[in-house]
Amino acid sequence: MAAWHQALIRFAPLLVLVALWQMLGGHVDAKLLPSPSAILSLLWREATQGDLWLHLSMTLGRVGVSFALAMLIGSALGILMGLNKTIDTALDSFLIIGMNIPALVVIIICYIWLGLTEAAAITAVTINKAPMVAVTLREGTRALDVQLFQVAKVYRVSAWNTLWRIIMPQLLPYLFGAVRNGLSIIWKIVLVVELLGCSNGFGFQIGSYFHFFDLAGVLAYTLAFTLVVFAIEYLLIRPIEHRLLRWRTNP
């Protein structure tokens, strides 16, 4: 299928939705449903004259740091638990608690203990996300192919090469699963964290607009947020994934 054809199928439904919304705009109260053009022009004003870029960079920074921490801690924990039955049994209850405790509770506890600081914000997000990464990677580690380890042993492949050329490629699909899941959840949690205890960031901005019941402002920031998510998915995650999983897609 041609690339433009795929792009059409992918984006046409979105465009139709926006067009319908725009047409509906004239018939309802703009306070309840601002039209797409109004949202766009507000977004443009925020980007050119307002503080959109400041808030975006603050939010992205928090997302980036807590995402990296959660992936690192979660992966290490998950791989260890997948490999070692004793560690798995000892830590399993913590994973269950970590997976199910409401994000809001963790955020409030972190703010009370660490104050309204960046450290508290990032800790809260990391604690919320790491257990999910651990569960995914534990699953992946349990599914590792014993037969390929036998090959490594027979041919005396070094521990380093066993890790990078035999184990990691098998964990990659699980890692990408965790990355996607991770980003989507971390965005949401970061916004709550910012709403509750930061003086900048998208969450803070959306909170401010909420105080004035300004739906256009809320939606303008939501739109900016959506655009960034698309950019990360298409410019970062997919190309990397395509490159690393090339051996699967080739005929």
């Binding site: 037969q147 390929l148 036998q150 090959v151 027979v154 492949v157 050329r165 490629p169 699967r248 005929p251």
Partner: protein, 256 residues
């Protein structure tokens, strides 16, 4: 004598006896086929020899072929450099042919790689992934992987079983050629007596589980034959009339 196997008992994971009092020795450079019915514990035996499974009563001794006078008497026998062809090719699907080979042989240079690939008829395939190769070509890569480490002991577990007859015959030819040049000791496990007769110098017959060696046959010819060669047919007929029950065991399911 370089490989001495003396296994008293080995149990499967389910507790059934897999091996009972199995003994044999192999000379340096010898090509031995081990023939037995399926379920006789042939793969179990190879995994024990490869050191992939250590839970066994008995001993597996390896003496390096070079008799380095007094040192060899005291020094504990070291493990041989191994090549192992499994029933599946077991290549890493995410590594190219080149990467699969450098994984087991990190010092392999570009020129040597090209020479090896040409030898096994895989020229120009270095950059391909295993998924882009046919089953027969994957086996060639696996065979190459086994020989590229310059093995002293080469273990083969029915490696050509899932291939069509002409492809399997080609690969037997390639195996025989590489073995003639490099002379590793080969233990070739199969349940196909004709395959054993066409390749090996000596054939060991395994009983159904618990496996032990019930008979031994020295193949008179030297050199490779087709599995339907007249000489193989003659050997086959002679063995069949000599040990009718033995060969019958190769066609009946194992009695556990």
């Amino acid at each position: 004598m370089m490989l001495n196997i003396n296994l008293r008992t080995k149990r499967f994971d389910n507790g059934c006896l897999a091996i009972k009092d199995l003994q044999f020795s192999a000379w340096a450079g010898e090509f031995i086929a081990i023939v037995g019915p399926s379920g006789a514990g042939k793969s179990t035996l190879l995994n024990l020899i490869a050191g992939l499974d250590a839970a066994v009563e008995g001993s597996i001794e390896w003496r390096p072929p070079v008799a380095s006078t007094e040192a060899s008497l005291d020094a504990p026998p070291k493990a041989p450099r191994l090549g192992y062809l499994f029933q599946e090719s077991r290549l890493m699907p995410w590594l190219t042919v080149r990467q699969n080979l450098t994984l087991v042989c990190p010092t392999l240079g570009e020129a040597a790689l090209a020479e090896w690939l040409e030898k096994v008829g895989l020229s120009g395939s270095a950059h391909l992934f295993p998924g882009q190769l046919s089953g027969g070509m994957q086996r060639r890569v696996a065979l190459l992987r086994a020989f590229i480490v310059e093995p002293e002991l080469l273990l083969m577990d029915e490696p050509f079983q899932s291939l069509d007859a002409p492809t399997a015959q080609q690969l037997r030819g390639l195996l025989f050629e590489l073995w003639s040049q490099r002379q590793p000791t080969v233990l070739f496990v199969t349940h196909d007596l004709r395959e054993a007769l066409s390749l090996a110098e000596r054939i060991l017959f395994l009983s159904p589980a618990p496996a032990r060696i019930v008979s031994e046959h020295r193949v008179a010819r030297s050199g490779l034959c087709n599995t339907d060669d007249p000489a193989v047919n003659a050997d086959y007929a002679a063995l069949l009339s000599q040990y009718p029950q033995l060969l019958q065991g190769l066609h009946t399911p194992a009695l556990l």
